[in-house]
């Protein structure tokens, strides 16, 4: 699957959808394939403050533990309860129903565009 062009990306294999001052965050198709079957997701609480590049949650597969990094400074305004209840959504629909958190931000950091992210994952 190619990285959707309307999203931004991080080097930690997360995608970010910017809508106004809210960023929706998930992990990329590349990341979910590398993790394998996701069986447990822990997300930060709604209302909590997160700082860019810090670990704010976990995505566990049968074989390994992936860390969820906040891509951005801000406040968590929504956490996807559907993926907590059904972690396999991260595998089946990483760019859609498998989204993880929404963060309200004030300043946008430098993020990769789809072409730069594909360059990163094709190495």
């Amino acid at each position: 699957m190619t990285a959707p062009a309307d999203l931004k990306y991080t080097e930690e294999h997360e995608w970010v959808l910017i809508e106004g001052d809210v960023a929706t965050v998930g992990i990329t198709d590349y990341a979910q394939a590398a993790l394998g079957d996701v069986v447990f997701v822990e997300l930060p609480a709604v209302g909590s403050a997160v700082a860019a590049s810090t670990v704010v949650g976990e995505i566990e597969s049968t074989k390994s533990v992936g860390e969820l990094f906040a891509p951005i400074d801000g406040e968590v305004v929504e956490a996807n309860q559907a993926v907590v209840d059904s972690p396999e959504l991260v595998n089946s629909d990483p760019y859609g129903a498998g989204w993880l958190i929404k963060v309200r931000f004030t300043e946008l950091p430098a993020l990769l565009d789809a072409a730069a992210y594909e360059e990163l994952t094709s190495k």
Binding site: A33, G36, D37, F40, S61, T62, K63, V65, P87, N91
Partner: protein, 374 residues
């Protein structure tokens, strides 16, 4: 060929190994309910040949291999002088004067070297055939049906057309093996495995392993056979309470600590490497291997510390060696070495899962046992 099946690979002991083909969970479930097809060609195969091969192995490993009859196999350990484990092995007696020792890939060189050294005074020669032997396993409740449905097999000394294959393989017992052919090339059919299910391991030359794989895959497809990778193999063996070298077994632990004291045959005649230390036994306070069962979905994993309480003053009483969310059972399972005073079944311990203490109940192994029909 595996890449064509959608496999993802990992480097393992110098081999490019399929870690998964589709989904770890789907592959695991297929092995429990139908069957999985595994490429285990990375495993080490070391031949010990000669009139003194049985006596040589009795000296080299922990069990009494000379007692095996041709066609029988035994699980055993190659011990250190101090009674720890160099590797765990399956030894097949393939003839009056020959044995095949199957070792873990990462240890094959060391095992071959140790066997050579330990058997030098015996009428036996050691050949490391690891690069010249491929291994394909069919594991799961439908495994026998799949092997019997695969055309091209024959039994050594049997009918070349193979019509007697079912009457030989069907009653073949666990830890027994029989020589045969696939399209006129030699194969060893072994009723062994590492998944907790019935199944066969087929040893053959690498030059027709692909052909054998494809024949099994095609014949097995109607039975629900799917290719399965190392990730599923690991969760399968963990549920079955089977130890993995480098996790539950190492030079640091004695077999008796892993609940495998029976693997060390102190009743056999003669000295063997590790005998004195095994007779002395483990220290009274030496940690012992237990099963742990948790609630929720968060798995305790290898190297996580185990405590006797939740508070900051709790004592560290052990360490997790393997752990996963059990695909079959739906809750976390783990194996751990614990202080013997605190290792009784039914007790509660706390595993530190990346900074949070989670309660686990100590339980007997295995976590999962198949319903036996044969």
């Amino acid at each position: 060929m595996h890449a064509a099946a959608g496999a993802q690979f990992t480097d393992f002991a110098g081999w490019q190994m399929p870690v998964r083909y589709s989904s770890d969970l789907a592959e695991h479930k297929a092995v429990r309910e139908a069957a999985g097809l595994f490429d285990l060609s990375h495993m080490g195969e070391i031949l010990v040949v000669g009139d003194g091969a049985g006596a040589a192995l009795d000296h080299a490993v922990s069990g009494r291999m000379s007692a095996l009859r041709p066609g029988q196999a035994k699980y055993t350990h190659l011990l250190t002088e101090t009674g720890g484990v160099v590797d765990d092995l399956i030894v097949y007696r393939t003839g009056d004067d020959r044995f095949m020792v199957v070792a873990n890939a990462s240890n094959a060189d060391v095992v071959a070297e140790e066997l050579r050294r330990r058997t030098s005074g015996f009428d036996a020669r050691v050949f490391d055939e690891s690069a010249d032997v491929a291994l394909i396993a069919v594991q799961g409740p439908r495994a026998l049906e799949i092997v019997l449905a695969t055309p091209g097999f024959a039994i050594a000394g049997g009918h070349p057309d193979g019509h007697d294959v079912p009457e030989v393989l069907t009653p073949l017992r666990y830890y027994r093996a029989v020589a045969g052919y696939f399209r006129e090339r030699p194969v060893l059919f072994a009723r062994t495995g590492y998944t907790g299910e019935d199944g066969f391991e087929l040893f053959c030359a690498p030059d027709f392993a692909r052909e054998l794989w494809e024949a099994l895959a095609e014949a097995g497809e109607p039975f629900g056979l799917v290719p399965a990778g190392l990730a599923a193999r690991d969760t399968l063996r963990l549920e079955a309470g089977m130890p993995l070298y480098g996790h539950e077994l190492s030079a640091e632990w004695m077999p008796v600590q892993a609940g495998l004291g029976r693997v060390v045959d102190l009743a056999k005649d003669g000295d063997f490497v590790g005998r004195a230390a095994s007779e002395a036994g483990a220290a009274a306070d030496a940690r012992v291997l237990v099963g742990l069962v948790g609630a929720g979905r968060r798995a305790a994993r290898a190297d996580y510390p185990v405590f006797d309480g939740e508070g900051a003053d709790a004592a560290e009483i052990g360490v997790v060696t393997s752990g996963a969310l059990s695909p079959t059972l739906g809750h976390p399972i783990a194996m751990a070495y614990l202080s013997p005073a605190l290792a009784a079944a039914g007790g509660t311990v706390f595993v530190d899962v990346r900074g949070t203490r989670h309660p686990y109940t100590i339980t007997a192994l295995p976590f999962y046992s198949r319903k036996r029909t044969n």
